[in-house]
Amino acid sequence: MGTWDVLLGSVIAIAGAYIFLEARTFPNLAGGYPGPGLFPQLLGVLFVLSGWGIAGNAVVKRAWAWKPPLSDYPSREKINALLVVLAVIFYILLVDTLGFIPMAIIILIALMFRTGVSLRWSIVLGIGLTLAIYILFNRILHVPLHSGIFKYWL
């Protein structure tokens, strides 16, 4: 873990200090009893102590080994993982406009093709599975999935 522990430990300690200071501004209960700020203040203190503990442990052990994030994985797989993240962001931003069906088809085809499924099978599975999932959730379980561009047909 090395330098990452120092880095994460410091981030945790700083976040804890912020939580503690922010929670100190919360009001008290009537009669001077501690209010909604007490519990987060305790959590803030625990964050600071454990953050120091993690960073301090790495410093004491002189564990300075630095590995760039995700360096154990091949770059093609890292791009695939990035694609998964982008697919969800893409879904959040465009599902209202395009609707569930086009979004799901695009996501399934793109991810399957990118991870090694042939283009023909990616298209067949992408369309077929999207329709099956849509029927299951929207028609049978009544989850109000976005209709988007199909709002006059669905």
Partner: protein
Amino acid sequence: MLDIILQSLASLADPTVIAVILLATFYGLFIGAMPGLTVTMAVALFVPFAFFLDPVPALAAIVTLQAMGIFAGDIPGALLRMPGTPASAAYTDDSYALSQQGQARLVLGVDVIASALGGLMGAVALIVGASALAEFALTFSSYEFFWLALLGLSTTAFIATASPIKGLVAVVLGLFLSTVGIDITLGFQRFTFGNPNLLGGISFIPAMIGLFGVSEVLRIVLRGKMHLAYAKLEKGASFLPAIGTVWRYRLNALRGGIVGLITGVLPGAGADIGAWLAYGVSKRFSKEPEKYGRGSMEVVVEAGVANNSDLAAEWIPTLVFGIPGDAFTAVVIGILMLKGLRPGPAILHDYTNILIAIYVTFILANLLMVPFGFAAIRASSHLLRVPRNVLMPIILLMCIIGAYAINNDVFDVGLMLVMGLLGVLLEANGFPVAPIVLALVLGPLLEQSFMISLIKSEGDLTLFFSRPVATILGTLTLVVWILPLVPLAKKLITARQV
């Protein structure tokens, strides 16, 4: 009472419930058999279905998929040396070594029988224990609930993780996330940053789907191995030899069952802890400890019984106190709340019929495990051949729908993604993620019981130990805190002596 039992049995005999149980059987066996896909993820993805089912079929499905999934986790353990679920990890090396010695079919048969046996032991403990504890728990005050919640969180932080300090960070993170939203005492907004979507707090199910579903998809995509090479099953019968083997190690089975029950009842310790503990106990008392890790059948029996007996026992604190045994039962609490059922001491009186249906399903699921388990062994080569590059995008889509369906809000899909990325970051740096979920569920109970106790005692912390049960629970919690310091103290003493 007889009326209620008959009513519960009738509700389980409903064709919809039977169909749901059968579907949950296949779903649990499939997810459990796929390396990397956990039973916790399976139940998180089941939530949108549970949303639209009545309480009895929803809970029957969860019980079934849990039992089947934990057993099926043994299949890739034996054939690939990759445990399907963390609960199978303890004896994966032994199962795989036995497979390499040409006993794959036998070891998987033993897994089925040991799992079913463990599950039935757990079911009996649940039936007896839940009723007895529910009466007892009615006398609990805020002090007992505070200590019980803290004990569960302390166990998961300090005992159930490799690094206690990182386990503590995970617990504190989960507790912090539980404070987001409107505070119940004054209606004050905490850490919402002006975002109206956060007023109701961090939605538990999308967070859970992110931590266990999306992060798993990302990890599998990062590893990149989409087709797996697996050991072949030899031909021949396995049912009678498996029964014979379990009978030969019957004392191990009994001891494993007891260890599983104890860890199951302890809030915060999951089936994986039960299996590891049973492994340690088994090795300690074995006449052939040198075989452990190299193909010991007795540990497969003992730990296999332990992780399944643990499952049903975990439901005791979950149902009676509203305190989950592990991340899986944390989701169960979420689903119970979703169905309008409040877990707690009153559950025995308020929802007797549902409770009896859960008991019966536990027995039914473990009996069904025998035929379906052997069928799954036969189909295992087909199960393991399912390409993960087809499966992963489907799971991602199910995660998106699952997160969205809770509040029909795309904000929850974003929350799911953030939690998924957080899960990958934390696990890559040695932080466990299961304690986050447990703390997120237990946070409100812990804070509420802490505040009530503090106001009742007018700030006098000694009153937290004023009642007998509170004293026992408080002492146990302190012991759990001190345990990680013991090796450190030993090191210091040895260093001084040198």
